[in-house]
Symmetry: C2
Subunit: 147 residues, 2 copies
DNA sequence: TCTGGTTAGTCAGATTGCCTGACTTCTATT
DNA sequence: AATAGAAGTCAGGCAATCTGACTAACCAGA
């Protein structure tokens, strides 16, 4: 009931992420992508234009390949992703966006940009830059696997 | 493999939160609280000194009371929390921190403060203020349940 | 004072988003 | 060839939520 006078940075970060994600992903149903969930972004954010391997995507997102496989299966079932054999390695498949998947990707980019420019109207260009810088430094200063 | 030139704000927010949370919660085992997980913060952040009701905590954290009950059971089993009947309402229980729970709470506050001051050394007081302001505005500008 | 609506919490069950371990298949190196 | 390692699959598990249905208790009004 009583949030301590200055809310902790962790609290702010968590809620800011939740608010922004809700804003962006909450609009997807209206844009024709009702089945896309937040978790899918772990794949969508990292997929290369020419296609990517499952293992690459898992490494880029920092998750187990089994977890990425689950997301890939999902997006494939939704018609956003297709898998073709990698001609350079018989074990591997290349995952790439279908036409509809590219549309989804572009929609997400556009919604993100719209949200950011809305925020920029509030904070100004310097404010946004400071926010980005602060976040980037937070990531850099607290690397995974350190005390 | 190729993070697009400016990483999206969502990406930054998610990773900054993850990095900070990992930093803080990763130190808890060394501080004598090996069983505390991130989810517990949803309860710990909102509990009042004199004790809080389950329903209050759930509302403050924005989650279902059943979910908060799960966290409360957990913290109770770990000896951090105890429940006493609310003298003012026979249906309700007051949840409050035990001595060990208060120690945990103080440890979390200290670790948070330490992390923030480390970041302040990097960003300066103005940088931290700008970061906080940006996050606060993000939360305010993208309220739950809106397009 | 009974009664009906509301609130506090519990019970049961489901889902999402991850995880680990064990395995197969293929590649590449020796 | 033989074998080590990498790509991906299969099976299973767990954490952190959710919804729906319920009981017990409180409270306001007839």
């Amino acid at each position: 009931m009583n949030e301590p006078s200055p809310p902790s940075l962790g609290f702010l970060l968590r809620n800011a992420y939740a608010a922004l994600a809700e804003h962006v992903y909450g609009q997807l149903p209206d844009r024709g992508f009702p089945e896309i969930r937040r978790a899918h972004s772990s794949l969508l954010r990292h997929i290369a234009p020419g296609g990517s391997r499952l293992t690459e995507l898992a490494a880029a997102a920092g998750m187990a390949k089994q977890s990425m496989a689950y997301l890939a299966d999902d997006l494939t079932a939704l018609g956003m992703l297709e898998a073709v054999p990698d001609p350079r390695d018989g074990r591997a498949r290349l995952l790439r966006l279908t036409a509809r998947g590219r549309k989804l990707y572009e929609t997400l980019v556009a919604l993100s940009a719209e949200a950011e420019s809305r925020l920029e109207a509030e904070l100004g260009a310097t404010g946004i830059a400071a926010l980005r810088h602060g976040l980037t430094q937070t990531i850099a200063r607290f690397p995974p696997g350190l005390g």
